[in-house]
């Protein structure tokens, strides 16, 4: 598979049910390498479940997830991470009592390119500078603001040296100027050769960044295409806004 | 036929376990406080009954009017003045659990030490309603039947309160989600304190009922805490009928295991069953997946 134009992640007939509730119903899509792929849909439509399935936080009932041609279903989370898939969490998760630097070092020490703690500390500082956190390396993570904790999460994910980065509403809750910086940062990460899948409600970011978008509703994939074509699809509007508003 | 008698005995024993666990489930289910000094209130109830009949020659059932209010008040105070500061400062449930385990272990040691100092470590017992009766073809002592009846009665009352009253609805809401319960105007702290206190009162009541047929001492409390804990975890947190059912399951397995394998291994059989359930269904037998 050639870099830049192949498929890095291929999902086929993926299914996950919780009791009687089917959270993800036999969905399939391909993520092209080197691009930014958007995953959108109303709350509760199953987007985060898809992310949890890819990273083995949940185990799939059926279906397959091929990453660079290798099956990821049945692996454990740490193996997925070492296979070079990294993620952030919808509700930000940092290690509260560790410093910012130590949070990022973890990804370096245990990700796909493990290093010694000393080396990891150096690399962590470089990554922190990249996400705009230079100078805050020695602060304890729980004392930082929400936005800074999101930056730590991103730096930690990058520290694992991923080929595929999964962002779960990483831009949510940012103010307009932070949003602009965030969008630039994501674009830059992609330009450095990391494929990105982002779950996002901020349509401005989806339009600015994504080449392709898949839309989920109630566990189904209801549309896929360029942001412009998908967002003008009546079924998508229906899912987002409800029947009456879409008709009006 | 002997096996059937063993089975019936297991049910009686299990009813007793369910009874002991009901109060703890109220404390852990609603107030989210795992009270490891729970068994000490059981022992308190047993000793009050013992003194009532032996010192003052009254019917031990009357001791409930003393032990239950005292246990209620003590547990209310524990919740208000010892647990509330911990709940306030805990950053997450994990940290709270660790603090609570330590403090209630501490209380357990303190209560047990006081009981040893004042009541000595001797094994105590008394006879009350020990007349044999025929129950479904098995011969049992009346007092055991009384305990089973008490368990069913308490469970029924709890069930009705939880299902049919406003107070019960509030408690159920807190069990499911304390934050959301607070958002709809339920005074979570006050209701939790009441549930915690009521749990303590039930511990005392079960101590009284069980003391009519099993001897006890100042140090037996921890064994009952553990039994109760096993039943609560088996049943699933916040389940009333499930608690009784889990208790009966444990009792029957223990009685049958003791009869078929070896009576010296009952604790081992208990823990074996408990561990098996914990590993197979960590959220309990009677919860929805």
């Amino acid at each position: 598979m050639q870099a830049g134009n192949g498929t890095i992640l291929s999902i086929r007939d993926l299914r996950k049910a919780f009791g009687g509730l089917v959270a993800v119903r036999d969905i399939s899509f391909d993520i092209p390498e080197g691009r930014i792929f958007g995953l959108i849909g109303p709350n509760g439509s199953g987007k985060t479940t898809v992310l949890n399935l890819i990273t083995a936080e949940l185990s799939a009932d059926s279906g397959s997830i091929l990453f660079e041609g290798r099956e990821m279903v049945g692996r454990q989370s740490f193996e997925v991470c070492r296979a070079r898939i990294a993620r952030t969490f919808q509700l930000v998760r940092v290690l509260p009592y560790m410093t910012t630097r130590e949070n990022v070092m973890l990804g370096r020490m245990f990700g796909s390119a493990p290093t010694s703690p000393a080396q990891a500390a150096q690399d962590a500082d470089a990554l922190l500078e990249r996400v705009g956190m230079a100078g805050r390396a020695d602060l304890v993570a729980s004392q930082l603001t929400y936005i800074d904790q999101k930056r730590i999460e991103l730096a930690r994910a990058l520290a694992t040296h991923p080929k595929l980065l999964l962002l779960d509403e990483w831009l949510a809750g940012l103010n307009p100027s932070e949003l602009r910086i965030g969008i630039d940062l994501i674009r830059q990460i992609c330009q450095d050769g990391v494929t990105i899948v982002m779950i996002e409600h901020v349509m401005e970011a989806i339009r600015a960044l994504c080449d392709r978008v898949a839309v989920m509703n109630a566990g189904d994939k209801i549309a896929e295409g360029t942001p412009a074509s998908v967002l003008s699809d009546p079924e998508v509007m229906h899912a987002y806004l409800g029947a009456d508003d879409a008709a009006a | 036929m002997v096996l059937f008698e063993v089975f019936i005995n297991g049910i009686i024993l299990g009813g007793m376990y369910g009874l002991i666990a009901l109060g703890l489930n109220l404390q852990y289910g609603v107030a989210r406080i795992l009270n490891l000094s729970y068994g000490e209130f059981f022992v308190g109830g047993a000793f009050t009954a013992f003194f009532t009949i032996m010192l003052w020659q009254y019917n031990p059932l009357l001791s409930l009017f003393i032990s239950m209010p005292i246990a209620f008040a003590m547990n209310w105070l524990i919740y208000q003045y010892l647990m509330t500061p911990l709940i306030r400062r805990a950053p997450d449930q994990d940290a709270l659990d660790a603090d609570v385990v330590l403090v209630t272990f501490g209380l357990f040691f303190v209560f047990q030490g006081l009981a040893l100092v004042y009541w000595s470590g001797d094994l105590r017992g008394y006879t009350f309603l020990s007349t044999p009766v025929n129950f479904l073809g098995a011969t049992l002592a009346m007092n055991r039947l009384l305990a089973l009846l008490g368990a069913c009665l308490i469970a029924a009352v709890l069930f009705v309160i939880l299902r049919r009253t406003r107070f019960g609805a509030a408690l159920r809401a807190i069990t499911i989600d304390p934050v959301a319960a607070g958002l709809v105007g339920i005074d979570v702290r006050r209701y939790s304190a009441l549930a915690f206190a009521a749990g303590g009162a039930l511990a005392a009541a079960s101590g009284m009922l069980v003391s009519t047929f099993i001897s006890f001492s100042a140090t037996t409390g921890v064994a009952y805490t553990l039994k109760a804990l096993i039943v609560v975890i088996m049943a699933g947190v916040g389940r009333v009928t499930g608690t009784l059912a889990a208790g009966v399951l444990l009792g029957v397995v223990e009685a049958l295991g003791g009869y078929l394998i070896d009576p010296a291994l009952t604790i081992a059989i208990n823990f074996g069953l408990f561990m098996l359930i914990l590993l197979l269904r960590p959220t309990g037998l009677f919860t929805r997946a």
């Binding site: 509260p96 | 303190v110 291994l265 604790i267 823990f271």
Partner: protein, 318 residues
């Protein structure tokens, strides 16, 4: 960075001096003083081993008495057939293996469930062993015949305590230490950062258990006989837990400074007021939780930084 290096060197020097001094204690002391020191070293080793796993990962284990008891029994059974040193090593190895099996099946339980499970484990082993002794071996206790001197026991436990502390300090510096702490703070994040959490947990749980079994085996040398109730006494689990929490986490020497006052207090109380020991122990728990949340470690570090360091600086300036 230089400061840290200087601190580490100072700590290492302190430990070496203390170890040499302690090694000569038996030359000058009575049997009673020796036995207090033996108990002290045993508790320091146990609390450090406990904290190495449970303090870092926040999996609060009450299985200390289980592994400790396994050590006692391995020695009691094995010392008849093999030399004592071999029996001691066998105890450590068997403790490790049992913990490996237990860890694989239980370490996915969190919080209160894990606490109760480990407590139950002690009771389970206790009763099964008791049953096995009575029904199969027709005995209730085992005699221990050895001619190991108190001095040898003293020196062995001193070395064991030192190795445990230094080993725990060393692990804190390497990747494994970070992995343990990450598991304690957020296991999900740890997994997604590429840590094989199951392997880390099980191996460290077993390492900690092997120290506990070893200490149990060494202490068993002092007993004339053992039975299941002596070997699997849950008080050990509680005392070790309190020592470790009183000491506080985050530093390898933390549990040790918690164990010292606790052993001295229990030695004093057990002799004078046996029932009051349990009350005092209980009050200790409560005091730790409300007034010393970081343990003595935090107190010592605060004193060190706010008082000793300025004093030293002043002295240099003058």
């Amino acid at each position: 960075m230089l400061d840290a290096l200087r601190n580490a060197r100072a700590a290492a020097a302190l430990i070496v001096i203390a170890a040499i001094a302690l090694a000569f204690v038996p030359l000058f002391s009575s049997g009673y003083v020796m036995s207090v020191f033996i108990l002290l070293f045993a508790n320091v080793a146990l609390a450090t081993a406990w904290s190495f796993f449970s303090g870092a990962t926040r999996y609060i284990s009450l299985a200390t008495a289980a592994f400790f008891g396994i050590g006692i029994y391995v020695l009691a059974i094995a010392h008849v057939y093999v030399p004592v040193p071999v029996a001691l090593i066998a105890a450590a190895i068997i403790g490790f293996l049992v913990a490996l099996v237990v860890g694989l099946s239980t370490l996915r339980l969190r919080g209160v469930y894990f606490v109760v499970f480990t407590f139950g484990l002690t009771e389970l082993i206790h009763q099964v062993l008791n049953w096995w002794e009575v029904k199969i071996n027709h005995t209730v206790s085992r005699f221990i015949f050895t001619d190991v001197s108190n001095i040898a026991i003293y020196e062995t436990l001193l070395v064991a305590a030192l190795i445990t502390i230094v080993g725990s300090w060393y692990v804190n510096q390497i990747r494994l230490g970070y992995a343990l702490r990450a598991i304690g703070e957020d296991e999900t994040v740890a997994r997604h950062a590429g840590i094989n959490t199951t392997r880390v947990k099980v191996v460290c749980f077993a390492l900690s258990a092997s120290v506990m079994a070893f200490v149990g085996a060494v202490l068993a040398l002092r007993y004339p006989y053992v039975d299941a109730s002596i070997a699997f006494n849950s008080t050990w689990s509680f005392q070790v837990l309190i020592a470790a929490l009183l000491g506080g986490g985050g530093r390898a020497w933390g549990p040790a400074i918690g164990a010292i006052p606790l052993v001295l207090l229990s030695e004093y109380l057990a002799g004078t007021f046996p029932h009051h020991f349990s009350i005092a122990l209980g009050l200790c728990f409560v005091v730790i939780v409300y007034f010393l949340p970081g343990g003595l470690t935090r107190l010592v570090l605060r004193l060190y930084h706010s008082w000793l360091v300025p004093q030293l600086k002043k002295a240099e300036v003058l």
